[in-house]
């Protein structure tokens, strides 16, 4: 039994043209038993930086709170909101602090920076960063997400098309994963607008 797979759940983030999207499923399980289907794993760090923390559910909550603390202190000390690139390094160093007793989560980050450029990143549970230019995936359905995203994603998708692409990627991937699914949430972040949508999904 792997701790990373105890509670299940998956996240994916994608780059579009002047926009990014990040999505997660809603399952919380205890191994094969589904406990809840309202367990969101994507949170807002700032108005235009979002991050997903799939993995061990208690660590999702703990790390989310820890990051909120650090983002707030950053905002007060630096008197500006944190950039997605900086936030990625903040998450990475927060995880590496626990190098030998890690938080069992694999974060995914998506945001739009001050120059209105899209940015995504992902990392492993000890904070090894991956700045991808196309898409990043994480969670128990990560292999399926890779397969879907690799065949559906294309460069310079407009916000609406990016929404469709990430939604299809997530839904079809989690439908083949027993530990993920049971509903999904998609965030599309544009330079002056953030949209959150709940997807109608298979509930089995």
């Amino acid at each position: 039994m792997s701790i990373m797979e105890l509670n299940g759940g998956s996240c994916v983030a994608m780059v579009g043209k002047g926009c990014v999207a990040i999505a997660c499923d809603l399952r919380l399980g205890n191994q094969a038993l589904t406990i809840a289907c309202n367990h969101e794993k994507v949170f807002a760090a700032t108005e235009r930086t979002y991050y997903g923390l799939p993995g061990l559910a208690s660590d999702t909550i703990t790390v989310r709170d820890k990051l909120r603390q650090r983002v707030n202190l950053y905002a007060m000390k630096e008197e500006r909101t944190i950039e997605p690139e900086t936030f990625a390094h903040l998450v990475s160093s927060t995880l590496y602090e626990r190098r030998f007793g890690p938080y069992f989560i694999e974060p995914v980050i998506a945001g739009i920076n001050v120059k209105d450029e899209p940015f995504i990143a992902a990392m492993d549970l000890i904070g090894c960063l991956n700045f991808a230019k196309d898409f990043v995936v994480s969670g128990t359905a990560s292999e399926k997400l890779f397969g879907m995203a690799e065949s559906l994603w294309e460069p310079d998708l407009e916000a609406e098309d990016l929404f469709e692409t990430i939604s299809q990627t997530l839904l079809n991937a989690v439908d083949r994963d027993a530990y993920s699914g049971w509903g999904a949430v998609v965030w599309v972040i544009e330079k002056d607008k953030v949209t959150k949508r709940w997807l109608k999904a298979r509930m089995d």
């Binding site: 709170d65 707030n72 007060m76 000390k77 008197e79």
Partner: protein
């Protein structure tokens, strides 16, 4: 021979004084003035100034509580009362003309910046005397800036770890108490000097709504409706006592804070170079919103209040 007791923060003098703490207080009385005014908004209970009570504005003071139960007009003669009433009504009409619309509730903190040299670069950040301590708390400092920075940082960390533990903003008084506990420690445990800083904390929480606290280097703190720390604080205090009303609105409080500072500051000019200003209000959802004014906003407000004194062209 007070010198025997001077160097030790933790030793009482035979007169029962802690000299280092008093010296710290003295140093603060030379620092830039910081004014805090709590505008409770229209729903507040009436406040009546009672000149015989020296600190009538202290929220906790029993004197203030007792005096507020007796309307001021009730103790004076009918003739006086009629005249006073007319005068009061005129003043009210004037106020409403100057500050129209519904009165917002909130707290104002205004600070005087002491400019020591014209060669000195301004701080890169938005402010050097007013700080955001948490989403629901702003603070103004008077005293040693270096000490203040360390305490503000301490307060911010305390507030954030509370948020992270309980998923709730730290209650204002709890935060003030936490900072004051630290300050107090330095007046008791050996070998160190106390923090040379007084604070005003303006905060909002679901338990007691808007709150204004002042704290000094000894670790004492008290809640206020309007108060002031730093240089000329007795002058400022009496100005506040004169003009404070329990139904004062936020916009009027801003004007009052600027007026008080314009009278207590010995500088000939009054503009954003010399002033810092901030407010704490709540949004429609009841969440606290802190706002530290940008220089342009301060200048605009001074212009509106007719208090702007532009720096004169210095003759070479």
């Amino acid at each position: 021979m007070s010198r025997r007791y001077d160097s030790r923060t933790t030793i009482f003098s035979p007169e029962g004084r802690l000299y280092q703490v008093e010296y710290a207080l003295e140093s603060i009385s030379h620092a830039g003035t910081v004014v805090g005014i709590l505008a409770p908004g229209p729903s507040a209970t009436p406040f009546v100034s009672a000149p015989e009570v020296s600190d009538a504005m202290a929220v906790d003071s029993e004197g203030a509580a007792a005096s507020s139960s007796t309307p001021a007009a009730g103790s004076s003669t009918p003739a006086q009362s009629a005249a006073a009433k007319k005068k009061e009504e005129e003043a009210k009409a004037e106020r409403e003309k100057k500050y129209p619309g519904p009165q917002r509730a909130g707290i104002v903190l205004a600070a005087e910046k002491k400019v020591t040299s014209k060669l000195l670069e301004k701080e890169k950040g938005s402010s050097e005397k007013l700080f955001l301590v948490n989403g629901n708390v702003i603070s103004g400092v008077a005293g040693y800036n270096a000490d203040a920075n360390s305490l503000v940082s301490y307060a911010r960390n305390a507030a954030q770890s509370h948020l992270s533990t309980y998923n709730e903003d730290m209650p204002v008084e709890q935060l003030v108490q936490k900072v004051c506990d630290l300050k107090q420690g330095y007046t008791q445990f050996g070998g160190l000097r106390p923090f040379g800083v007084s604070f005003l904390f303006a905060g909002h929480d679901p338990h007691h709504a808007f709150q204004l606290y002042a704290s000094d280097p000894s670790g004492n703190y008290s809640g206020w409706k309007a108060t002031c720390i730093g240089a000329n604080n007795s002058t400022a205090q009496s100005l506040l006592r004169q003009d404070y009303r329990d139904d004062i609105g936020l916009d009027e409080s801003l004007g009052l804070a600027l007026k008080v500072l314009s009278k207590t500051m010995d500088s000939t000019t009054l503009d954003s170079e010399k002033l810092e200003l901030s407010t704490l209000t709540i949004d429609e959802a009841g969440r606290p919103v802190a706002h530290i004014f940008k220089p342009a906003e301060i200048d605009a407000l001074l212009e509106k209040e007719g208090l702007k004194k532009a720096p004169e062209e210095t003759s070479a």
